[in-house]
């Protein structure tokens, strides 16, 4: 079955129109066109930076926009913002409103609410908007910076003039340095001469070091002789030590002999004391 040309055209028109209408309806719904909208009024001493349609942002999300700007009889700027019903919960009595004017990008009013449990902002209350201005901040920071840069530039100029002036400080310093270098050169020559002399005295034929070497060789020879003497002393000492051991044996023998003599003497005493006539004949 072939589809008629009229059907194809009708289908194309209907489908495309539906797509367009659905997109627009979705956009309208998401933008809050079918929602109840609350209007709040903010105040500012200056209207600079405020524009109609400017977004009102909470935590980075658009929750509304500036509907109108008015100047009241007291010269205060009144900013009417419109917030859809679903976003009204973010706007509380203790909310702060800041106009943020970034260096790059569009300005916006940032709503910050520390206590989300505080009561809702009454529509008649008019909080003031603080202004954070990146551009002006930068502009205020620029003059001191320029002053410093100017100072640096003038210093650089002075330095450059000094460099260029043959009688300037820098050139004087350079000439002084040249003199110091020349002096240093003389000193170095003297040091060289001293070093040569020292070298000859230390390392020459009759220098200190060869003599020290000879002395050391002599000492080494003597030490070798001393080594033999020490060895002999060691031997003597060892023999003496062994002799002392013999003395101990000899002493113990003497002790035994003395004890035996003592025993004999004691017996003799006993014998003499037990006789009526303490006289006896010795063989």
């Amino acid at each position: 079955m072939s589809i008629s040309r009229e059907f194809k055209v009708g289908l194309f028109i209907v489908l495309t129109t539906i797509v367009i209408l659905l997109s627009l309806l979705y956009l309208a719904y998401e933008k809050g066109f079918f929602e109840k909208v609350f209007t709040f009024t903010l105040s500012s001493k200056s209207g600079d930076g405020f524009t109609e349609g400017m977004p009102v942002v909470f935590s980075g999300f658009n929750i509304g926009k500036v509907h109108a700007l008015e100047l009241n009889d007291k010269g205060i700027v009144l900013i009417r913002i419109k917030i859809p019903e679903r976003h009204v919960k973010w706007v509380k009595q203790d909310s702060s409103f800041i106009l943020y004017r970034p260096l790059i990008g569009a300005s916006r009013i940032i709503v910050t609410t520390t206590n989300l449990h505080s009561p809702q902002l009454p529509e008649r209350k008019i909080p003031e908007v603080d202004i954070v201005n990146d551009i002006n901040d930068v502009i205020t920071k620029v003059p001191p910076l320029i002053e410093k840069i100017t100072l640096i530039a003038s210093n650089l100029e002075t330095l450059s003039n000094n460099l260029a002036n043959p009688k300037g400080d820098f050139n004087r310093v350079l000439s002084n340095v040249a003199k110091v270098t020349e002096n240093l050169d003389n000193i170095l020559k003297k040091v060289d001469k001293i070093a040569d002399k020292t070298d000859a005295q230390l390392f020459g034929k009759d220098g200190t070091l060869p003599q020290v070497n000879n002395i050391l060789k002599d000492i080494v020879g003597k030490l070798e002789k001393l080594n033999t003497t020490v060895d002999n002393i060691n031997k003597i000492s060892q023999e003496a030590s062994e002799g002392v051991k013999d003395f101990h044996i000899l002493r113990s023998d003497i002790d035994d002999t003395v004890n035996a003599v003592n025993d004999v003497v004691n017996r003799l005493d006993d014998l003499i004391s037990s006789k009526k006539e303490p006289e006896f004949k010795v063989p």
């Binding site: 040309r5 009229e6 194809k8 055209v9 194309f12 028109i13 495309t16 129109t17 797509v19 367009i20 997109s23 627009l24 956009l27 309208a28 998401e30 933008k31 977004p55 999300f61 658009n62 990008g105």
Partner: protein, 260 residues
């Protein structure tokens, strides 16, 4: 002819041409708003015109939209990422691609395909005396021949441009995810924040104006052909140049409108 005379001649012809086009556009517009114009014969011609201009071209148009749109979105997104302007990609997508590029791309396509065809068709009909024949049979040439083509131009441009925008939006989902790692929800939120009804209305209005002049100018140019065959290419080339000039003027005017 002196230099000053040449300038004067050029200015007079330009003014005459503008007046002529606007006068002719006024006639067509008046007929478009007249109920009597929409006879069954006219409606048949209108259906045929929409079929040849929009439905027949639809597969090619969609393929070209997907390829060209995706490439363009990819390049633009990559550029924004490179410049550290990722937060502005919603504005670029809505402000540049949807409201500016889609109508421009579509009008170029329609002009190249249908505008030139209409111009040639009308010029050939004029040379062959077909228009005179229709008039002889008391058939209203404007109602029967011209109005359906102009309505077709307006409708086709609005519908095709919207389709192109929708295709780009879907391409944007893919590329924003690949390049920025943005999910569909975040992407939708960014787009909604960047979308303005006024911009969309201006874009649709611009499409309608593009469509109107992209058909009215070639028709007028075709009708200006003489009875000689050699006048056909002159009429076609003149008509196409005028259409491109008109496109540029409308584009500039729409940009100026956006400023206020």
């Amino acid at each position: 002819m002196s230099f000053i005379e040449k300038i004067g001649y050029f200015a007079i012809s330009l003014a005459k041409s503008f007046t002529d086009i606007f006068f002719f556009a006024g006639i067509i517009l008046r007929r478009m708003l007249r109920r009597k114009t929409y006879s069954s014969a006219m409606r048949t011609v209108l259906v045929n015109q929409i079929y040849f201009t929009s439905v027949q071209i639809l597969p090619v148009f969609l393929v070209v939209s997907i390829i060209f749109g995706s490439l363009l979105i990819g390049i633009v997104f990559q550029l924004l990422k490179g410049l550290g302007l990722t937060e502005f990609f919603g504005n670029v997508l809505m402000g540049l691609i949807v409201t500016e590029l889609s109508p421009f791309f579509t009008v170029l396509l329609i002009t190249l395909r249908s505008g030139s065809a209409i111009n040639t068709e009308i010029a050939v009909m004029k040379v062959n005396g077909e228009i005179k024949t229709l008039e002889t049979f008391r058939i209203d040439v404007i109602d029967y021949l011209l109005v359906p083509r102009v309505i077709n131009g307006v409708a086709s441009l609005v519908l095709l441009s919207s389709l192109f925008s929708v295709v780009l939006m879907f391409s944007g989902i893919l590329f924003s995810n690949i390049i920025f790692g943005i999910g569909i929800d975040a992407y939708t939120n960014i787009l909604l924040n960047s979308a303005n009804f006024s911009d969309i209305v201006i874009a649709l209005l611009k499409c309608a104006i593009f469509g109107f002049f992209a058909t009215v100018i070639p028709i007028r140019s075709g009708l200006s052909a003489s009875n000689e065959l050699t006048s056909i290419p002159i009429a076609v080339s003149g008509g196409m140049v005028n259409v491109f000039t008109a496109i540029m003027i409308i584009e500039v005017l729409s940009l100026i409108t956006k400023l206020f």
